[in-house]
């Protein structure tokens, strides 16, 4: 009886072990938030947000218990063209004076096997909060050469600019933006 109690207690404490918490390595730039949008329907225009931070918790045994939060500084948008970036930061698009940050907070994670996950959550962008789903994939995890432990993922999602109150007309081929996230977290 005593043994059983001990075993139960052990099992309970095992299952209550918290998923590991990670801080996204934006400092070491082992993470990036990229976007791409069609230009006139003839090519892809790519760019990124240089300044963001975030955390996630993840346990390989229970991926569906994971969660992630990312905060993006909108005026760090970089499309490799200062005049365009100025336009993108202005009130035709991001309006960074009024909406200095964008945020994603996961609400539910559905495991799909093979390291694939649907990361559902609320995305706040341009002052509008809407649920989105990020198609995520675990890339890998393990020890790093400097005594730490890391795990990394990538994810993609598509948002319609109009859904987030951005209605500057870039043409019919440019209604949506693809976001691509690469995050590597360092275990805390």
């Amino acid at each position: 009886m005593k043994k059983l109690t001990l075993a139960l207690a052990a099992a309970l404490s095992m299952s209550s072990v918290q998923a590991a918490d990670y801080v996204i390595d934006s400092k070491g730039a082992h993470a990036s938030i990229n976007f791409k949008i069609q230009h006139l329907g003839y090519s892809w225009l790519t760019g990124r947000f240089n300044d963001f931070e975030g955390t996630f918790s993840y346990d390989d045994e229970k991926p569906s218990d994971a969660n992630i939060m990312v905060n993006i500084t909108t005026d760090s948008i970089d499309s490799n063209h200062a005049e365009r970036d100025k336009h993108l930061k202005g009130d035709d698009f991001l309006d960074v004076d009024i909406y200095p940050s964008a945020k994603f907070v996961s609400t539910k994670i559905v495991e799909k096997g093979d390291g694939m996950m649907d990361v559902m959550g609320d995305f706040t962008f341009h002052g509008v909060t809407k649920p989105i789903t990020i198609n995520a994939k675990k890339i890998g995890e393990g020890k790093d050469p400097w005594g730490g432990y890391r795990a990394g993922f990538m994810g993609t999602t598509v948002i319609a600019l109009k859904d987030f109150g951005i209605d500057y007309d870039l043409g019919p081929a440019s209604q949506t933006v693809e976001l691509e996230l690469h995050v590597e977290g360092v275990k805390q």
Binding site: N80, H81, A82, D85, K86, K89, D169, L170, G171
Partner: protein, 175 residues
């Protein structure tokens, strides 16, 4: 015979007057163009080109102004002082407009094409968020310049119609 304004200085003055009005209007108009407007690319290109040419003219004008003599100024001592300060302020505003405009377009190291004729090279990013800061400066100084230039025009008309002196006639080489 009285000293007159050198023709070249008058020419640059009136070109500048037209340019300041045109640049102010085109600047406000072009930033609100839609993406599919025929002018979306052309208007900023011409605005930047005209601005850089006006910069060259302004530098030439300052040199001519320093080496030539001017006709007599009218008004009492205080008015002459105010006039001098006002004109220096106009020059400072013009030069600041050229500088801030240049800094917007060259913030990423890109040169500015002047009417596909020649390119003015960039100095690169000198301060962080250069295109945004220079853009704000350019916008507010544009308003200050148009207001100051309007006061300058009103002052010239005051000389002509109220003081009935030759200030405006000198600028038109009617005297």
């Amino acid at each position: 015979m009285n000293t007159r304004w050198p023709r070249i200085i008058l020419l640059i003055h009136w070109v500048t007057a037209l340019a300041v009005a045109g640049m102010f209007a085109s600047g406000l108009w072009m930033v609100d163009l839609t993406y599919y407007s025929d002018w979306y690319k052309t208007a900023p290109h011409w605005h930047k080109s005209a601005g850089l040419i006006l910069l060259a003219l302004t530098l030439a004008r300052i040199v001519f102004r320093l080496v030539s003599t001017r006709p007599a100024a009218y008004g009492n001592r205080l008015e002459k002082r105010a006039s001098k300060a006002g004109h220096l302020f106009l020059y400072a505003l013009l030069l600041s407009m050229f500088t801030s405009g240049y800094l917007i377009s060259t913030a990423d190291g890109r040169a500015i094409d002047v009417f596909n004729w020649f390119a003015v090279p960039a100095l690169g990013e000198l301060i962080e968020n250069q295109e945004d800061i220079a853009g704000d400066v350019h916008f507010y100084l544009a308003w200050i310049l148009i207001v100051t230039a309007s006061l300058h025009a009103i002052a010239a008309l005051k000389h002509h119609f109220f003081n009935k002196d030759d200030t405006l006639k000198q600028m038109l080489r009617l005297r």
